[in-house]
């Protein structure tokens, strides 16, 4: 009996052993038939990125406001891999930064490979943008959009894959993102009839006209003596946060707005034809208290300048801010004649 059992056991065992060698049915037919697929997508992406003469726009959500999104204009030189970034938070530094399109991990990726405004936004975190990586998976390419997704979504245990950005070609009328600075308090003559002149600003909210209002306002100059204190508060500078960089030294102008029962001169940054009300962690009248009040009251954290028109002593300036799709959502009109 024992012997029979032993033989039976041995026989069954042998069959199991033999059966276990059977090859499974997983094939690599898809990869074998599409060997060039990843390269093809990467190549398409590269051609698309190069095709937009004025660059591409990424609209990023900030921790400050759920309606107004911050525009980031990216230009890709696919011959040298140089990257050119412009946004409203500050003037871009005159240093080189680079990008790559790779298929290194299987999926095509757009990677901002060296330090730049893009890696600084990643480093600084949620208040300035919802960017959570400097590495992006290219998730879709069409004739007028390139969709990219942050490779990581935050801290070490957060899920893979962050926000998806549908980049669109920069609208032609976004003159503020061109090279010329026409809204620049450092330019000679620009402050004439503007700096120190009591003025008004008419605010128009496209989606909620009931919020429209006109405020007593006006620009005044920041003394050079205050500049270093104010610059020290800028969140994107290496001496404050070593993982950052990519912005030139910041410039400020006082901007008057109604604050509680009085008026207050906050100090936004002016750069790239825009005013940035991004709160600074420390510094001056642009610190968290005042700027957060400003943003909560007026519902925008930047204004880009569309035009500056001078007629005699009258100066009129048109500003705007954008929503997720890059459409105008806030309009502001400055007039120096009360």
């Amino acid at each position: 009996m024992r012997k029979i059992l032993y033989h039976l056991f041995f026989f069954v065992g042998s069959i199991v052993l033999l059966a276990s060698c059977e090859k499974d049915n997983i094939t690599n037919a898809y990869f074998e038939d599409n060997t060039e697929r990843q390269e093809k997508v990467a190549k398409e992406a590269k051609e698309m990125l190069a095709s937009a003469e004025n660059g591409w726009v990424m609209m990023v959500k900030t921790g400050l406001n759920s309606d107004v999104y911050t525009p980031i204009v990216l230009k890709f030189d696919t011959v040298t891999n140089r990257l050119y970034v412009k946004t409203v938070y500050g003037e871009t530094a005159d240093t080189e930064s680079y990008f790559r399109i790779t298929t290194g991990t299987g999926a095509p990726q757009l990677i901002f490979t060296t330090g730049s405004i893009m890696s600084s936004l990643y480093r600084v975190g949620a208040q300035a943008s919802d960017i959570t990586d400097h590495i992006y998976n290219i998730v879709g390419v069409s004739s007028d959009t390139v969709a990219i997704q942050c490779y990581r979504s935050g801290n070490v245990y957060a899920k893979e894959g962050g926000v998806i950005y549908k980049m669109f070609k920069r609208p032609v009328d976004w003159k503020w993102a061109d090279g010329e600075n026409y809204f620049d308090f450092n330019a000679s003559g620009f402050g004439t009839n503007v700096l120190g002149t009591a003025s008004r600003v008419q605010l128009e909210y496209v989606n909620s006209p009931e919020k429209n209002r006109t405020i007593a306002s006006g620009f005044s100059a920041v003394a050079a003596a205050n500049l270093s204190t104010m610059r020290n508060g800028f969140a994107f500078q290496i001496s404050r946060n070593i993982g950052t960089g990519g912005f030139a030294p910041t410039n400020y102008v006082f901007f008057r707005f109604p604050y509680l029962t009085t008026n207050y001169d906050g100090a936004p940054i002016f750069a790239n034809n825009a005013l940035s009300f991004l709160p600074q962690p420390a510094g001056y009248t642009n610190n968290v208290t005042y700027m957060t009040y400003f943003i909560n009251t007026f519902n925008f954290h930047y204004l880009v300048c569309k035009s500056v028109v001078r007629t005699g002593n009258n100066v009129k300036m048109e500003f705007e801010a954008y929503d997720k799709a890059g459409k105008v959502i806030v309009k502001a009109t400055y007039d120096n004649l009360l």
């Binding site: 090859k23 790559r100 990643y122 070490v156 070593i242 993982g243």
Partner: protein, 289 residues
């Protein structure tokens, strides 16, 4: 009969399992599957790419300043360096202060112990969260046999203080690598066994107190691996006379023992740490960059 079955089964087993060798196709001999860098055509090279290429040819170290997922794991947060900092850093710190003197003065140590990869990090390592404000560890890339890296490249400055502090820290991080590679040794770990301060304790110790307790710096009292690395660091940072003075003042036999062990370990690898101090001191303070 049984024997025949056994033989039959063995042959069957040996032959039956053979599968095709290359399910994804033939291996392309022209692709370097182990390179961490994504190959960049020479037509796209910038000044730093040419410099990195020259350094790799001269010293066998691949310098990496552009990050892709092959280089930085998804669970570790480093910020890539600014190009305008990475370029002078590579020129001055890596080429002139680290590699060139090392190869010329200590050829045996250079040949045996130089990592084959070096990664530049703009900021410092951020554990767990890319936006964490705490900046732990100068390098954090030292725990691998073949790869060294340094943080703080965005702070690059040609001031003597910065250059000196950085190259000394580089040798500290390199000591961690040596530690991983060869081990500190059974005896080393037992010299101060039970006397380490731990994470909570080291920051409240003064240097003099730490030296009396048998550590070069309070940080060295944190744990054995830092004990070892700070030993190397101290010998690179200070001249032999200062080291001997510390040994005399502290009157710590533990410190003296560890000094002898670490000094001898490096001698065996081809470098007298006191001479290395002289070289480092001279390339930083006697040359203007």
């Amino acid at each position: 009969m049984k024997k025949i079955i056994y033989i039959f089964l063995s042959v069957l087993l040996l032959t039956a399992c053979e599968k095709e060798n290359y399910p994804l196709g033939e291996v392309d001999e022209n692709v370097d599957y182990f390179s961490k860098r994504t190959v960049k055509p020479q037509s796209e090279w910038n000044e730093l790419d040419y410099l990195c290429d020259s350094i790799q040819k001269a010293f066998g170290v691949e310098i990496i300043y552009e990050y892709t997922p092959r280089i930085i794991a998804g669970t570790t947060f480093f910020m890539p360096p600014q190009y305008d900092k990475a370029l002078p850093y590579t020129k001055v710190m890596l080429n002139k202060i680290w590699l060139k003197p090392l190869k010329e003065e200590f050829p045996e140590f250079f040949a045996g112990e130089t990592p084959i990869e070096f990664i530049l990090a703009g900021g410092f390592i951020h554990f767990n969260n890319p936006t964490a404000t705490a900046t732990a560890a100068g390098a954090g890339l030292n725990g691998q046999f073949y790869r060294l890296g340094m943080g703080g490249v965005n702070n690059f400055s040609t001031s003597k203080n910065w250059l000196y502090g950085h190259i000394v820290t580089l040798y500290h991080e390199h000591a961690h690598q040596i530690d991983h590679k060869y081990g500190r040794g059974f005896v080393f770990d037992r010299i101060s066994q039970g006397k380490y301060y731990g994470l909570a304790g080291y920051s409240s110790r003064t240097e003099a107190q730490a030296q009396r307790d048998g550590f070069w710096r309070a940080y060295g009292g944190y744990a054995p691996e830092e004990d070892f690395a700070t030993g190397v660091e101290h010998m690179v940072r200070y001249p032999e006379a200062t080291i001997k003075q510390i040994l005399a003042t502290s009157a710590s036999l533990d410190l003296a023992d560890k000094y002898k062990m670490v000094h001898q370990m490096y001698l065996d690898m081809g470098v007298d740490l006191h001479q290395l101090h002289n070289v480092v001191d001279s390339v930083v303070y006697q040359v203007n960059y």
